[in-house]
Symmetry: T
Subunit: 150 residues, 12 copies
């Protein structure tokens, strides 16, 4: 139906590798499996999802710019772009959509440079450290945010 909630799910650089390498850090689930989990969860809630992954900052920015024509909110794991991309921050802010940021690992328990995020200050909130569950919780948070704003 036309007024179901629609969420764009964005995955930053290197997340396409999930499950195939370094499972001890990032878990053994592939990105496709995470997307499937999200899709299942969204379906229950009557929410539509679109997925996009890229290793190109520019491609992620392009995709973010298109979001307002379809999406009601953005769920994003900016990965490495978290710490380096002002362009992504600006693009997300420009959408004026609610943004929820998620991370698989606990970024505060790793290298110092991972504790700074350009994205969090312009997001609704952030979930970090729970593996694929971070995505599922982030999606819940975003849906709740969108429902409460209606």
């Amino acid at each position: 139906m036309t007024d179901s909630i629609r969420v764009l799910v964005l995955h930053g650089p290197n997340l396409n590798l999930l499950g195939t390498r370094e499972p001890e850090i990032y878990g053994s689930q592939t990105l496709q499996e995470i997307n499937d989990l999200l899709a299942a969860s969204a379906k229950e809630e009557g929410v539509e999802l679109e997925f996009f992954q890229s290793n190109h900052e520019g491609a992620v920015v392009d995709r973010v710019q298109e979001a307002p024509s379809w999406a009601d909110g953005i769920l994003i794991n900016p990965a490495a772009l978290t710490h380096t991309s002002v362009a992504l921050r600006d693009a997300l802010a420009a959408t004026q959509l609610p943004v929820v940021e998620v991370h698989l690992s606990n970024v505060f328990a790793r290298e110092d440079f991972r504790t700074h995020s350009y994205i969090t200050p312009i997001a609704v909130g952030m979930v970090t450290g729970f593996g694929p569950t971070s995505y599922l919780l982030g999606l819940e948070a975003l849906i709740e945010t969108l429902q409460s704003r209606k």
Copy 2:
């Protein structure tokens, strides 16, 4: 049943004021209402909860120290102690229980001193910015963590 999961829910300083003052920042729900939400959610999952709030760092530390005799994990909104309490960090680490940290507001969109947490590096993960929903998501994350470790 005796082997249901048991979670200690801790609320740091000033959280007893929730709902009664500054609702524009912290929302209009009282701490009791948040606890009720958590209890309802836990019940569905067959999880037992205990609640504790204090404005006294020492009391929170005392309570954390007792946790291992009963709890399987700790859900904590350390509030102001997030930024100032090494004692709380040490107590939580000493329990060797999984800890999930939550915040009502997006601490990364406020004063600079709120972006540093003594707790996150020793937690499983963290949820920030979603109001009472942060607690609910944190509880889900903790339950999942506990179930996956069994």
Copy 3:
């Protein structure tokens, strides 16, 4: 009469020692004597005072939380908590009462760590360096603030 101004006077850690030790730094007046001076000054102005001192951050926070039910404003010498307590800052801000911060010694002429205050940014103003007179001036300032807001 019921609509006289009411002020809560708070003294942070170690201020109970005043007059009995290190008089060359903190002066020879006891905390009781300072309270008496304040009471005398308040009486002249038709202002009611309550006093509270504690070495426990949590107890000070508890007392601050109760303030709005009785007090119109808070006069506080946070002492060591000035530099370390986000919980006190948050509690004071939550009262939405005018807060005046005072210090006996000139904190800017001592160790570097004493030049940072968590409290001043959320206070109306601050008085530092004049011994017990700092309290009396702080009380005047607070009364004036309260009168001008009426």
Copy 4:
């Protein structure tokens, strides 16, 4: 005529959104309208312009590398790349063409991270804060620089 001055006009990430979103910050003119203004101004001066916008750092770098085969100078609003792109700085420096940097908003009146530019030290100069007029002034400055070097 063949020896008219030729200027490459570059727009960094998110500038394609101009006029359509956040007009209170970036004004209501579209990028096309700004390009038209520049074109009109250039025509008066007998200057040829080419325009390029991209959200991809790599694409901007590619375009900069091609510049020397046609352009005499570069007018650039690096947008978010201002603060993050060493690659753009190196590409611009490698052209050995005069570069003029412009910004629509006053970057020094915004977040701290916007006060650092990788580009300005290797530019002739910079114009910031005047909306679309920043571009027009930057173009004037570049033309004057090019004419004075002849």
Copy 5:
């Protein structure tokens, strides 16, 4: 009488504008009105005052240097010089007179650079945030300091 207390009241740059511009920040009282308040208060205490305002650091320094031939103490709102003038600090210290520093606004609730003062470490104490009342309290503090030193 010859042994009444004599205080030099100094106002730094831009304080001559008081009351005429930006009343929402600095209040609606003019500098003359503040001086009159101070004069009235001083008269009650049998204290003599002289006033001086300048936008010239050098003129303020000159005036400070002359102070010891007449004044027993200095009440100063250094305004912008607070944060930038070593010359003023050195001049004040050289007088060996007690100095009290006052500010109309709460400098700790404004820009970061306003939290550093070259003056406070060599002053007896400081009062900040109470509008014209800051001056009156500062005068009281100075008189008390002078009386206690006799």
Copy 6:
């Protein structure tokens, strides 16, 4: 006519030396020649100018304070005061007139201390690096700002 735009042009310390010394850095034009260029440009636009140069921070502040009685905007090259004068910042902000800051050289390609400006955050915008052209562009920007605010 009485409603032509009126602009105060201010030159900070050492700018009176222009053209006579260090032409390789600051160019060979004298300050008088720059003023003449500005006057010619202003005349075309029907704008009135007044000029003022001083090596005295206090004199510049005095002149800024008088500006609102005559001028509609201020064009300023604060020179060395850019990096050191809070008094000038405060005076400019107090006028509540639009301020445009200009620099002859590219201050971001020189010593580190020249990259910080007390003025830019309270200005409309800034132009740096184009020699006397910086002034002309700054004047254009100011006129445009004033016209758009009418």
Copy 7:
């Protein structure tokens, strides 16, 4: 006899857990066993000891304040309070008794924040890294200090 040396032994937050958890870090001896070791050692030297442990900063401060009425010196392992408590520093300094600081682990081989101590600058000295032996050595050092001052 009345003029034997008397020492107050203070243990900060979480030290009550010693021996029962994380023995690989803090050793397998309980706090009671450490106290017994200290008592045995003190007895040999004819020194009286009192012991106090608390997870409450305020309670530790209270206990420190009472010290001068009985004790000649203080042996303290401030644990987490080392890094966060100005109140404890001020209380210890106010006693004017010699203070010896000890740590079980080598705090300089752990997290960065553990390398800063508010206590050491006002202590006679410090012993770190030798497990329960740190306490025994600290006691010896304190006794020697007290004997040499007699």
Copy 8:
């Protein structure tokens, strides 16, 4: 033969310009000539090479991700990405292949920002400052590393 060593040679942004511009800094050899040198050297050692250059961070990351299916090690001059790309660091680390980092110029004798590398901490080692020879030495080092691991 199938078990000869295979090395992916990656060149970051702007390295396609080598030899054609700024030869006084980067030398007069083109990237093709450097590749030819490497190829000749590799041939002698019975090593196979593939080459890739891009100005697009995303394209370099994509290429790195494909590396494990063919290559045994990576020789990379990250150029500007050295200082800005967490995505490249993460991609290289994810390959779990040995990585050798090289630079033509001595990055420690240039601007301060060039002394920080996101890549070196996850590389086997680094060679800087020897022009095209840096690549040849880096290749030798990588081959030796690969041979010693067999």
Copy 9:
């Protein structure tokens, strides 16, 4: 004779107070006595001196600007301006005369802010810590510099 060396001797803020206040820090000689010492020393060397002291940065800058029409070199004790005046640095550099900087006290043994000088990097050299002798040595150094440049 007309080609004797001519030196301008400049004294910054508060140096007019020498000898009359704080002799324990700055010595008991007055500025006039120091000037007399310099004059006597200069006379022996056949060097002409002019003296200037001001508490006004602007006046010192004015005087520096006039220097080249008469002086061959500048001997300056910038006093407080050492640490705060970019205008003085720029004026001194613009004269293109050799400048020697002197300080009475050892500025490196005082407050931290006195260890930074805007002047030294553009001076020939500096003498600090020897009281009036610093001036005499500075004069010798300047004369020697001027003679060696002839």
Copy 10:
């Protein structure tokens, strides 16, 4: 007997001066007297000692390198080398012997640069502030460490 514990006692630069100069800081005991105290204490414990002092970093490093052929542990007062010698740190670490660091004065109550030690992170522990007693306690700690490792 051959399996008694053997300890190398090292004294860094300037410790040969002990007792002869600045007794108010370093005490009146000579280094020989401290060595005698250590020897007496060691004898009681059946421990053999060798002593070495040098003002030469290289000589101390040489001596450390020889240690493993004879010694079971190292007791060292690195003195000035504490803050400056990576070579000493590396040499001590290379011995793989337990190292105990001692200081006569309380280095945390002196200049800031004395609060950083290159040695402590690779030592078992450290004793600071107790004069010659620091050495005796350090020796006890080292003996205990060695005995517990047997």
Copy 11:
């Protein structure tokens, strides 16, 4: 023959220990074996080598000073002196010979203080992380540098 290239090979503190201790960090080859490898490599190239190792900064500086009378270039592993010796930097720079710096381990993957080198900015280049191969590559680089300068 007399015009073969001559290289001085310098090894800093603790490198004499190579192979005998901590082989897991520094490898199992002794310094003599590394020297033999270098000698063999040099012989092939017709290059003469001299070797010198010392734990004494002063001895290394002495040896560097003698270098120009014999050597054409210097290959140095400054070891701990890398991070602490300005004297070595100055001595190397004074020789005006080309210097190549090498490190066995990857200094950028260890403690923070090892990422700063006083030597690299005055060297031709640097090789780090390849064990003894670092020396061989450094020698090649130096020979190539010397040959290209002929």
Copy 12:
């Protein structure tokens, strides 16, 4: 005669190279020539000198320690040790003799690390930037200091 003033002249690392290399930086005079100049100057004043140069920090420290048995004061150019040697600082301070520090070049116009001196805070004063004249002026200053203390 026995009560003439005696001065130890110390030269730090690399100063033995003076005049023979890099004359454009350090001048063309050899250290012997500087010593001869000092000796001539000292002779006139009836002052005895001894000279010592070493590239070994330890040797300089040894020599400083012996100074009090003969010398009344120390003239030192610590060269590279200025920035790195706490041992030299401690040795100089321990002599309790007046120390004058000199530098040939203007250390404040060179690399940043040369602007910090461990020596100046414990010296009487410092002379920098005048080539060999720095030594002569430093000697004068030291003689004057010694004479004024008699």
